[in-house]
């Protein structure tokens, strides 16, 4: 089975993109500096291989492991490339976190909290990339151990980068920036050595409507990238 050949309603029923909103992350970061929370990052190894498939999906025998009988494999667990993998992985993650006593937020289904008296632990989910927030070091240690007991994880320690955003937690400040992302765009456009300007747009200049309408791939590429930038952090 190839992901692009899967038919909706037949080979898969629902897809879901298990990513936390950047707004939520920023709101939590503001809370973090106000209340002195600890932050740690963890990456779950082979996350998509953990989901259990509901639908029957078959695949050709993988190259190099083909026994030449012409038989096909029936998939039991999700693999990378299947449309439902994201959803099934998230379902598995959701169940596990709920068993650990976490509550999924209504405001953002990819954020979880657990209150224990005055203490609070928060987890945000970006597919298999978890950010952990805790009100004390002991609590953070406990959170990490519980997660390590459930999956094989890479402990990234203090987060340096989340989804292309550089993050710096020093003392009681957190700064998020996207220098490397901007540099890579400038490199693509050969503008690394250009002179910079102080504002994004000249107030006196009127932008003319594009006479050819939407210019196709080039302009779309740009608007997409810049829109992303603005959405994330830096283009204000």
């Amino acid at each position: 089975m190839k992901g692009y050949a899967q038919r909706p309603g037949y080979d898969y029923v629902e897809t879901f993109s298990p990513v936390v909103h950047m707004e939520t992350v920023r709101a939590i970061l503001a809370l973090t500096v106000k209340n002195g929370y600890k932050i740690q990052q963890m990456d779950i190894k082979g996350a998509y291989l953990n989901g259990i498939l509901k639908e029957k999906v078959y695949m050709k025998q993988p190259e190099g492991y083909d026994d030449n009988t012409g038989q096909v494999c029936e998939l039991v667990k999700t693999i990378y490339g299947l449309k439902q993998s994201g959803r099934e992985w998230n379902h598995k993650l959701d169940t596990t976190l709920k068993n650990l006593g976490y509550t999924r937020l209504y405001s953002d289904p990819c954020a979880y909290t657990r209150h224990d008296g005055e203490n609070i632990s928060i987890i945000t989910v970006w597919v298999d990339d978890l950010l952990l927030f805790a009100s004390s070091d002991d609590l953070m240690q406990k959170m990490k151990e519980e997660i390590k007991a459930s999956w094989e994880v890479t402990d990234m320690g203090e987060p340096k980068k989340i989804i292309g955003i550089e993050i710096d937690h020093t003392g009681n400040t957190v700064t998020i920036s996207q220098q490397r992302y901007i540099e890579s765009i400038l490199e693509c456009e050969n503008l690394t050595d250009c002179n910079h300007v102080s504002t994004p747009m000249d107030p006196k200049v009127k932008i003319l409507p594009n006479p050819e309408g939407n210019e196709g791939s080039r302009s779309n590429y740009f608007t997409q990238l810049l829109g992303e930038l603005q959405f994330l952090a830096n283009a204000t």
């Binding site: 973090t32 700064t175 540099e183 400038l186 910079h196």
Partner: protein, 196 residues
């Protein structure tokens, strides 16, 4: 000026500000106490400033000295007055305030007092505060009047500010260098190269 040229200019702007980031800090002087809440917002609109005379609305919410959510969007309808454009901008900001208050409540920080949103247009502010019939507002879609419920229910409080204090101004139109820098600094945008 063509769109591509304008985009190139944005890239040249980014080149100069690539080391800038949003800084959240617990230090005093970021005015949170003045606003009686964990976060506060600004809503603004620039009237009929696009090719087809639609307006551009923007809002920003700030917590711990840095912007946490913001939006800059061309309005989907043609506003008949500055008041209408600003009234709708207030309404959109009110919706965001609902979400942020819900989020913080779930995170254990319940907001007891209304969230302050600042606007700089007196017509729209009084329209939101006084639920009487305004002849010039009879055409405004019902959903935008939700802002009045938000005020009555103690979700938000709308204060007026003067134009220079309107941080969201920068999200609605191109500004001159001085104002631009002032407003982005108010959103917590600082160069990561500078010392603290």
């Amino acid at each position: 000026m063509e769109h591509v040229t304008a985009l190139k200019r944005i890239l040249r702007y980014l080149k100069g500000t690539k080391s800038y980031g949003i800084k959240y800090s617990n230090s005093h002087g970021n005015n949170d106490d003045l606003f009686h809440g964990f976060f506060h917002g600004f809503a603004d609109a620039a009237y009929a400033n696009t090719d087809d005379y639609k307006s551009t609305a923007g809002y920003v919410f700030i917590a711990a000295g840095g912007a946490i959510t913001w939006r800059s969007k061309k309005q989907t309808f043609t506003a008949l007055s500055t008041t209408e454009a600003e009234y709708v901008a207030l309404s959109e900001a009110a919706r965001e305030a609902y979400w942020l208050r819900n989020l913080y409540e779930e995170l254990g920080i319940k907001q007891e007092s209304p969230t302050t949103i600042k606007g700089d247009n007196n017509g729209s502010i009084s329209m939101a505060r006084n639920p009487q019939f305004h002849n010039r507002a009879k055409h405004i879609a019902v959903r935008y009047h939700r802002v009045r419920d938000a005020i009555n229910d103690g979700i938000i409080k709308i204060d007026s500010c003067r134009d220079p204090e309107q941080t969201a101004d920068v999200l609605t139109k191109a500004l001159h260098c001085f104002k631009h820098r002032k407003h982005i600094a108010e959103m917590g945008m600082k160069s990561t190269l500078e010392g603290t």
